[in-house]
């Protein structure tokens, strides 16, 4: 799929042509360009199965991955999580909320000038480890941070 996209980009030539095609509605940009949604991974209920779906047979703990998230989240409905990877040639970052019913929350493939940094917000039903998996030069690295979730409100 990734290959196909690159080829498509080459075929259409310059970026401006592509932008024009998108804005003219000729190209359904989302479907045409996005990589296939990792159904197996997103439907996995365990970290091991998610690892498999990513093709990560082994992972190394890495201090070059920083997970920025609150130690205590006041509201599990909106838990900010940012991941920074200082590992050279970072290709992808995956975010997993280990105790969620479906733990895989997000996967980010980085290309071109994209830096090894992503930030988003995740729903968490309970206190859980948040795990980041980074793929760099074909190898997998990981880091974990615990986020305590307190139930908000006075009800």
């Amino acid at each position: 799929m990734r290959q196909l996209r690159r080829q498509f980009l080459k075929l259409t030539g310059s970026a401006s042509v592509l932008t024009a095609a998108v804005s003219a509605g000729l190209l359904k940009s989302g479907n045409a360009l996005a990589s296939t949604w990792n159904k197996a991974g997103f439907e996995s209920k365990s970290v091991v199965d998610i690892q498999k779906s990513l093709g990560a047979t082994s992972m190394t703990d890495s201090k070059n991955i920083t997970i920025t998230a609150p130690d205590i989240a006041e509201n599990g409905a909106i838990v900010p999580v940012a991941v920074t990877s200082k590992i050279p040639n970072t290709q992808s970052i995956t975010i997993i909320a280990e105790k969620n019913p479906f733990p895989l929350a997000a996967s980010f493939e980085i290309s071109g000038g994209g830096e090894g940094y992503v930030s988003t917000r995740v729903k968490m039903g309970q206190t859980s480890n948040v795990r980041a998996i980074v793929k760099a030069d074909g190898k997998f690295y990981t880091a974990v941070k615990e986020v305590k979730v307190t139930v908000g409100g006075c009800g």
Binding site: T150, C154, G155
Partner: protein
């Protein structure tokens, strides 16, 4: 008389023209604000008492840094003392496990769209304002920590009675403190309060671990 009236009218106009509007006095303020209260809420007749102030609440609604006088404090304490009722069983120490649940329950009796929140019983609201078991994070600090309450005081009959009365009507000890008079206002039943007492003083309770 007529002359006087005219004088006053002229004076009144002058005040407005000169822009000398100013803060209303206490009595006027009270009159206006009390009217605002009853205009602002939609309520069934049986809920009017939630807006009406009893004598103690009136005394305890001091504005700003105004302080209670000794006489007022004494009156509040006296009213609090008179309000306290004890459980039919006579036993002031209930079940700490029930108390634990109640301490972490902040629900019950709230009104939305005319409907009173239905619960088996009202929560005791403790967690909102007090630190409870050691290491518990999701607790408030409006009131003092209750961690180790029984450990420090023991569980004698006298302590049980003091604790029961303090929860039933906190103002018997500290007039006009922030703590709701949980028994006196009917938020908790005497039986529920015995569970709270147990939760606070029982050596087995997580509070005292």
């Amino acid at each position: 008389m007529n002359i006087n009236k005219t004088k006053w009218m002229i004076f009144g106009v002058a005040v407005i023209v000169a822009g000398c509007a100013t803060y209303p006095d206490q009595a006027t303020t009270k009159l206006m604000a009390e009217k605002m209260v009853y205009d602002a809420f939609t309520f069934a007749p049986e809920h009017k008492k939630r807006l009406d102030q009893d004598r103690s609440q009136q005394i305890c609604s001091k504005i700003g840094d105004a302080k209670l006088t000794n006489e007022e404090a004494a009156e509040v304490v006296k009213l609090a003392r008179a309000s306290i009722k004890y459980p039919a069983s006579g036993n002031l120490v209930g079940n700490w496990k029930e108390g634990d649940k109640l301490a972490h329950n902040g629900a019950g009796d709230r009104i939305r769209n005319g409907k009173v929140e239905k619960r088996k019983e009202n929560g005791a609201l403790c967690q909102n304002c007090h630190a409870l078991a050691p290491g518990e994070i999701n607790v408030g600090n409006v009131g003092p920590s209750l961690t180790g309450y029984g450990k420090q005081r023991g569980n004698s009959e006298a302590i049980a009675k003091y604790t029961y009365e303090k929860i039933y009507n906190a103002w018997v000890v500290f007039p006009c403190s922030n703590m709701p008079r949980l028994g006196a206002t009917g938020h908790l039943t005497p039986e529920q309060i015995t569970h709270m007492v147990a939760f606070l003083i029982d050596p087995q309770s997580p509070i005292n671990k």
